[in-house]
């Protein structure tokens, strides 16, 4: 037993880092547990999330913490492995007894740890844009959801480029649900899916897919490919002379492909974003300056890194309004409505019924030189879909994920 725990400890050692050790004298620190991939296939997207969290903690601690209590951030690196996500979530919640759990990149990792969060009855922030639909009182979603990203992007793409759409999606819950969303938004617009392909994660060769697209002759591509390997699509499509407009809820602001690939591989890519580094409002400029002062080597501040920064500030706002770190007290604050935060993108608020966040959405595009342009400003969009289909966390907590094909019973 002793040897086993020693081994487990040794194995965990390199994954373990404690940030912001300087606890305040007197009051107990507030413990935040963070699960973000900073190694493995998703490392390059996960690293900004760790940085955003560290920046938020440093700024808050420098100004006296939350209600006079310093924040201690414990970060573990699950390396993109869902089993490790579960192990680390248990460790943070049960052994380290953190006050709040934040993190997770893929929807698969979120769904892996959500049952553990629910069993512990803990508070959890998911900081990525995602396929939407999680109606769970323990979870606060900080990223953008389909009614903010897809209901803006897809109609615009149809109007501008045409109704024939080819979907390329990663073969896991995010890809399947986002493809389903695409279908349900396209149908009333008279749109047509002329091809739909699900690609196993880790696949890097796309010759067949490219040929299928050339045969189907779509007007534009709906891109839901995930991870570094699948991003090889862009290079290979360009080399084969495939030059179609592309729309995606996860490219540019999330994967910063326009910074990673030589131009013009990402030309004609369109996305709907609540944050992208090229955003140049005064608040955004100030935020970027502080970020790059702390992390001068950051290639790009992506939306999930930004959301991670916002999440900790949102937690601070909630705890200070509730005057407690207790989850039920915090949820009472959210239930009352008006749980809003002045974020770098503008004011955003938590919707009491779904515990998702309103966002200022903009349509962005990439040109041949990989410059990003704002094509359209949609203004602030509420996360309305869940409450529309009957999720109301102020009354009932089903702890379930819904989708256009899987609606709550009785609606």
């Amino acid at each position: 037993m002793k040897r086993r725990s020693l081994l487990a400890g040794a194995a965990a050692l390199p994954l373990f880092s404690i940030v912001g050790r300087s606890a305040a004298l007197g009051a107990d620190p507030i413990k935040i547990g963070l699960l973000e991939d900073v190694s493995g296939d998703l490392a390059m997207m996960g690293l900004p999330k760790l940085h955003g969290s560290e920046l938020a903690v440093e700024e808050i601690n420098a100004k006296g913490g939350i209600m006079g209590r310093q924040i201690v951030l414990t970060h573990l690196d699950p390396q993109g492995d869902n089993a490790r996500y579960q192990e680390f979530a248990r460790r943070l919640l049960q052994r380290d007894k953190v006050d709040v759990l934040i993190g997770g990149i893929t929807s698969a990792s979120r769904e892996a740890i959500r049952p553990i969060v629910d069993r512990q009855n803990a508070l959890y922030f998911y900081t990525n844009q995602y396929e939407g639909g999680v109606c769970d009182g323990n979870m606060i979603s900080v990223g953008a959801v389909p009614e903010q990203q897809l209901s803006t992007l897809i109609p615009w793409m149809v109007e501008k480029f045409g109704k024939r759409v080819y979907t390329i999606a990663a073969d896991y819950n995010f890809g399947h649900l986002s493809a389903e969303w695409g279908r349900s938004i396209l149908t009333p617009l008279g749109g047509q899916i002329v091809g739909e392909e699900f690609i196993p994660l880790g696949t890097s060769q796309f010759a067949q897919t490219i040929q299928n697209i050339q045969k189907a002759k779509p007007d534009w591509l709906y891109m839901l490919n995930v991870g570094a390997a699948q991003d090889s699509f862009f290079e290979q499509a360009m080399a084969a002379g495939l030059k179609l407009p592309m729309g995606s809820p996860i490219k540019i602001m999330l994967g910063f492909e326009h910074k990673r690939f030589p131009p013009p591989a990402l030309e004609n890519m369109y996305a709907s974003a609540n944050w992208f580094e090229e955003l140049d409002t005064p608040a955004a400029e100030d935020f970027k300056k502080r970020w790059h002062a702390k992390f001068p080597k950051e290639i790009y501040i992506n939306d999930m890194g930004y959301n991670a920064y916002v999440a900790i500030n949102m937690y601070k706002m909630l705890v200070e309004s509730a005057k407690s770190t207790n989850k039920d007290d915090i949820r009472k604050v959210i239930d009352k409505g008006g749980a809003c935060l002045d974020a770098p993108e503008g004011e955003i608020c938590i919707d009491p019924k779904s515990q998702h966040t309103s966002h200022h959405m903009r349509l962005i595009s990439v040109d041949a030189k990989h410059q990003v342009h704002v094509v359209k400003d949609f203004g602030v969009i509420q996360p309305y879909w869940l409450s529309q289909v009957g999720c109301d966390l102020t009354k009932k907590d089903p702890k379930e994920q819904f989708s256009p094909d899987h609606l709550p019973k009785g609606t």
Binding site: S39, P200, Q205, F261
Partner: protein, 288 residues
């Protein structure tokens, strides 16, 4: 009609090239030395990274790719006496040590060079057949795969080094007694395997995202090809790649990539069940 036929051939050539190039290095090291090199993917990554760095430093692409191959090969030659040689009689331990090497290299690359490297961009040039557009570079990959197969055959069958190498692998003590410098053969053979892995990385670097774990993308295909090919790389690799490429291309085309992947793995199960020694064992028995 011709366009569709050519499209099928192109898809086959593309999968075939990927299987051969990703498996060649592993096949040489396993077939000749009996070492299962778990760090195979990291030699591929090394080839890709050195190629990209050299290209960004201003070298033309073919020269950059050559430097990627040489870098991986030299590293292989250096690593063999240090890490591999003590474990020739302990295959399981050699598996463990190369796996450890792969973990160390992946993490070290992440820490030292960051989570990704800016890419090169696929060399331009494409052609059209009917309604389809094709990339010339993918055809170059196919030619390179054929050249690699020819290179392995000529090297081990037709050169003095090849004869010495095969003699050493069959009976090291006897070969040494006859004046073959055993240790040099070991180091060079391992270096050639590592260099071939580096070549795979160098050739695919312009078409892929460069991250420390990129070697993992090639691992399944390379192991599968070697397993199906069997112990004799000279006989096994080419028919294994042809059989698997046909299976995968057909399923990819008919049902999409998920079924292509499933079919590839099912084909392996089936082939190993029917031909336990792989294609090379079967061919050798027929010839014998």
């Amino acid at each position: 009609m011709f366009a569709d036929l050519f499209a099928y051939f192109y898809q086959f050539a593309d999968v075939f090239a990927f299987l051969v190039l990703s498996a060649a290095g592993l096949a040489v090291i396993f077939g000749m030395m009996g070492i299962i090199n778990m760090a195979h993917g990291e030699f591929i990554m090394c080839g890709a990274y050195v190629t990209t760095a050299a290209y960004h430093a201003g070298l033309p692409l073919p020269v950059a790719q050559a430097s990627g191959v040489i870098a991986a090969g030299v590293i292989g030659i250096v690593i063999e006496p240090v890490l591999i040689r003590p474990f020739y009689s302990r295959p399981l331990d050699s598996l463990l040590i190369t796996w450890g090497l792969s973990l160390v290299v992946t993490q070290a690359t992440l820490v030292l060079l960051g989570s990704s490297m800016p890419g090169i961009g696929t060399p331009s040039g494409g052609f059209h057949v009917g309604a389809y557009g094709f990339s010339t570079y993918r055809m170059i990959l196919f030619v390179a795969a054929l050249a690699v197969l020819a290179f392995i055959y000529v090297l081990f069958k037709r050169t003095r080094f090849g004869i010495h190498a095969r003699a050493t692998m069959q009976n090291a003590a006897m070969a040494q007694a006859l004046g073959v410098r055993r240790n040099r053969i070991y180091a060079l053979t391992f270096g050639i395997g590592a260099g071939l892995a580096g070549l795979c990385g160098a050739l695919y670097a312009p078409t892929m995202t460069l991250i420390p774990t990129m070697g993992a993308t090639f691992i399944v295909e390379s192991f599968v090809t070697v397993v199906v090919g069997g112990a004799n790389v000279l006989l096994g690799t080419a028919p294994a790649a042809v059989a698997l490429a046909i299976t995968r291309t057909a399923l990819n085309g008919l049902y999409g990539q998920v079924f292509g992947q499933i079919g590839l793995l099912l084909a392996v199960v089936l082939i190993v069940r029917v031909l336990p020694e792989g294609f090379s064992g079967w061919l050798a028995r027929r010839a014998g």
